[in-house]
Amino acid sequence: MPKNRAVLIDQIIKQTMRICAFSSLFFLFLIFLFILIEGLPLFYRVGVGNIIAGFKWAPTKGAFGIFPMIVSSFLVTIGALILGAPLGLACAVYLAEYAGKKKKLFLKPALELLAGIPSVVYGFLGVIYIVPLIRTYCGGSGFSLLAAAIVLGVMILPTVISISYDALMSVPRTYREGSLAMGATKWQTTYRVVIPAASSGILASFILGMGRAIGETMAVIMVAGNALRIPGSILDPLRTLTSNIALELAYASGDHRLGLFSTGVVLLIIIMILNYLANFVIRQKVIK
């Protein structure tokens, strides 16, 4: 019977779709599994403290301390946020509250295109233009925390802008109308009413921006100088968790490679915490 056949096909297709849907979870599981399988043994053997709180990274000589890299990763990320977050928020506010329809039509995609430019191109331009500028006007070699923070600050803009923008747009119009009706200026309305109402979304955009900055690799390798010490000033070179992996992975074997996977485990944990935080912050708003 044709009808039955159609139902059967429908069932088969439903199961196929279900398999597709579970593939993402399966891949996530695989990624965790293999990075943990490779990364965890060293934690047992060398000791969690010696890796996470260790200062010396000399994997071919049995020292696997990545504390300086964890600190450096956060320093770079904070630097990127200091530069990128206010700028991104300003752009989002402008787009959501101030820009006319015509301007918005052009500005929004243009700002999102920043996300399309490959990270190697950002890194390259950083090396060619920003590093020499820092060397000439601020001192040091130019390959520095500052250079990395500037490059990453630009790279997190699209994330911060698009998520903050969505948060601002989801503030009900009545809030704005009420404030304006009471005689507040547009800026007072934006500053006192709209931004506070969207604050959780804006916070989430900063956290996701952090995730983007802490995970960026190629651009950071190119401009950060990759020294192993915790930088003493913003003009000192530093090495992040990501660049440690990318610099040495191709070369590594044996325990050295395991050490890089341990670095990967730490990075994975940091990223998952940031993602969870961002999710948590966004959900808070919904509950309110």
């Binding site: 994997p59 300086p68 070699s141 020294a227 610099l247 040495e248 191709a250 070369y251 050295h256």
Partner: protein, 277 residues
Amino acid sequence: MAVVTFMRVVGAAIICLLISAACGNQTSSQVVYRRHVVTIAGSTSVMPFTEKLAEHFMIEHPNFIINVQSGGSTAGIQACLNRTVDIGMSSRELKHEEKSLTEIIICYDGIAVIVNPENPIRALSLQQIRDIFAGVLTNWKALGWIDRRIDAVTREEGSGTRSAFEELVMHGAAIDDGIMVQDSNGSVKEVVATDPYAIGYVSLGMVDTRVVALHVDYVRPSVETILARQYKIVRPFLYLINGTPSGPAQQFITYVLSKDGQKILEREGLIPVYAKK
């Protein structure tokens, strides 16, 4: 309807790919097209020269395909031990536990200590170089130039050039953690070429007009001084094979050691095997 067509096209494409994948496997095992494939991996210092040799070799032997991958000396040695490559490249001597491989010295290479052309310093002692990389000497003023921090650049852990440098220059002293790290000869040279206050070390064959190679202990680094055993920072470039090499791999090695192959290396600023005895 457009979607249905699209799905069909995607489906067809996937099937084609699977078939081609299966075929791809077959051709490589049955050698239907008589293509000889030689895979080489390892040291980034040896790689550019191997690439050049392979280019010339493949012009003369069009039925050969030489795949050259970088990855570093340690990776090359490991890959050779696992037999994932035909030939491993190394720019450092084998460690004790790696001695099961056969070493073939293809040439010798000096390590040049380089600075930017704007830097007036042209000579340093071995001790001074050691102090710079150990983090003892940190200002150019101490060496008679301006009051500016020395931007020293080293190679990453696992690099053959780094381990040769540690052995020949540092004599066991540790390279300071505050020193910048780059992951290839090329990128070290690039930093030194763009930063007037930088100092680094690269394979002598890589030195060109954009950087200046320093005299070390009053000896100019060059092919002549290396041959005269005056310039001491020299290491061999090695090809490694595990057991008996395959026919094509052997043929490539023979070419590299031949007069033609050695000439190419000599032109690149390396020291051919026959010269240094």
